[in-house]
Symmetry: C2
Subunit: 126 residues, 2 copies
DNA sequence: TATTTAACGCAACTAAGTTGCATTAATTGT
DNA sequence: ACAATTAATGCAACTTAGTTGCGTTAAATA
């Protein structure tokens, strides 16, 4: 179930994703907002924002949870399947609009792909 | 540093990977071998087998660690970058020999890709 | 303003993986 | 075969991301 009440916590979290378009890890949000809200609240609000189609989640290189804004999703339709790019220098993670073509795998039906690319981002790439 | 002594634990673990070619999660090995060796030993041996180029590791859909046999790797050269496929029905994970082409991403230098495909495997695909 | 209940804070918990250290056993030399 | 060396092991304690239960707070609505 998604968000029913626009609480202070919801507004603060939405704001974090509004002022920057990069993905943010749950861990980062916890340390950034620990004085403003409890980590349990952070996890719960993020989950609801994902249900609502405002955010989508994925796992970074250590298997930790990251969230980023959706573009054009709703609670009904989550079509935010795309690769993510994590910079090995500054740690920043971005959603990529570039499509990666998954070839047909013999005898298997591929329903989902989870692609994490790593390397140097535009800022760290000299 | 890799393995220096062919201990009982090393042999048992190597055997697990010998009798089946699918990937095995650290968690599975711990529950499968808990009467034969300590989980600390399992994690440590797996790490060394990876150093030696016998195994490679990757993260499954929950961010948990999986290991699979390498083919043609050594401690010097680990060229085992390939996609993995996790069956959403039976949970089995396989290494895929199929290559996924990563397109050039503008202004970024991609050094590594981590691709996890999900769907139905050959056994579960009716 | 009073009522309803979704959302919150807190503390306790879960589980994957790690660390330190005393003990064991594989390897090597005699 | 035996003793010396030290890599590897077991165990307990720890770390940390994420979860759960429950009493309290504060949004929504009337
Ligand atoms: Mn994204
Ligand atoms: Mn593999
Ligand atoms: Zn960067
Ligand atoms: Zn299957």
């Amino acid at each position: 179930m998604g968000i029913l009440r626009k609480t202070k916590s919801v507004k603060i979290l939405l704001d974090e994703f509004e002022k920057k378009s990069t993905a943010i890890s749950a861990i980062t949000l916890i340390e950034r907002l620990h004085s403003k809200m409890n980590k349990t609240t952070i996890y719960r609000v993020l989950e609801k924002l994902e249900d609502d189609g405002f955010l989508h989640s994925f796992l970074g290189k250590n298997g930790h949870k990251w969230y980023a804004k959706c573009s054009g999703c709703s609670s009904d339709e989550h079509h935010d399947i795309h690769p993510h790019f994590q910079c090995t220098d500054c740690g920043k993670v971005d959603c990529l609009s570039t499509d990666v073509l998954i070839p047909n795998i013999p005898n298997r039906k591929v329903d989902m792909s989870q692609i994490l690319l790593q390397g140097k981002c535009e800022d760290c790439y000299t």
